[in-house]
Amino acid sequence: MRLVSHRGGEIRPTRSVRARVALAARLSLSLSHTHTHTHTHCAGSMVVDWTEAERRAVTYVWEKIDIDVIGPQAVASVLIVYPWTQRYFGAFGNISSVSAILSNPKVAAHGKVVLNALGLAVKNMDNIKATYAKLSEFHSEKVNVDPDNFRLLADCITIVIATKLGSDFPPDVQAAWHKFLDIVVSALSREYH
């Protein structure tokens, strides 16, 4: 599967990213998104209504941010601002201080993995639940992450984006982005039993 970044250039992923992308590729999803529909019914589940303005806002944010910068900063933030989240990163080496977290290459790499995965949702806004079904199961069964952490990370992503976009992040764009992340968090929490 050829990976194209949100700016159209090809991504050459690391082995860990390849593993996760292989996981995503096993999901049944179409990577072409429809422009005309504002409303898609996902089989047997909640309907997400997107206005065209909301779709544009989410895409606008996505195209403006550098996920290689935002990702590492957001994951570092969540480990610093909500230190109990460090429980999941025992294998990451030194995360014992703010400076260690900020300079830890595994934290940075994980940030890129997370934002690349978020990109799947941006490309599949009408099918976020199905897009993340396997990832949700993975976080529940294999990684055993308390889903409340997804909300914490989502908040950190938003704050980091705000520091980068400034006046390019007006209230209506923030609202659409917040709605999008809410749905992502909900989809990632869905397969927990």
């Binding site: 570092a76 933030s77 610093i80 601002v81 230190p83 703010v98 900020l102 908040d155 938003t158 704050i159 980091v160 705000a162 520091t163 980068k164 976009l165 400034g166 006046s167 992040f169 209230p171 209506d172 923030q174 609202a175 917040h178």
Partner: protein, 143 residues
């Protein structure tokens, strides 16, 4: 999650930095909250215009941020210092305390917009703890 001496000093120092912009931050934060968390509009149904540019919204945002700034000086006893404000919210305004975190999130987004370089994760953790303690103190008199 109680405020350490380091948290208090970080918050005080940071508030000194943003002192000149608190009016804009308050107006920005309230305006965003009403849009990002539309359920909060239910508390302002008596206002004709709930858009971020509305004079009432901006003025009220400033009032709120003034009270937050006031609370920065009361961090040693937030429950005591905010007793009458808590009483007001509990018995007269009757704002569901679950909403406080929505406003505080929007204040933090506003801070991030206006002070991107200063709002580091280390500052954020102390500011967020302050807001959490503030929310707790504000809900103290509810029941």
């Amino acid at each position: 999650m109680s405020l350490t001496a380091k948290d208090k000093s970080t918050v005080k120092t940071f508030w000194g930095k943003i002192a000149g912009k608190t009016d804009e931050l308050g107006a920005e934060a309230l305006g965003r909250m009403l849009i990002v968390y539309p359920q909060t509009k239910t508390y302002f149904s008596h206002w004709a215009d709930l858009s971020p540019s509305s004079a009432q919204v901006r003025k009220h945002g400033q009032t709120i941020m003034g009270a937050v700034t006031d609370a920065v000086g009361k961090m040693d006893d937030l429950c005591g210092g905010l007793a009458s404000l808590s009483e007001l919210h509990a018995s007269k305004l009757r704002v569901d305390p679950a909403n406080f975190k929505f406003l505080f999130h929007c204040i933090m987004v506003a801070i991030a917009l206006y002070f991107p370089g200063d709002y580091t994760p280390e500052v954020q953790v102390s500011v967020e703890k302050f807001f959490q303690n503030l929310a707790f103190a504000l809900s103290d008199k509810y029941r």
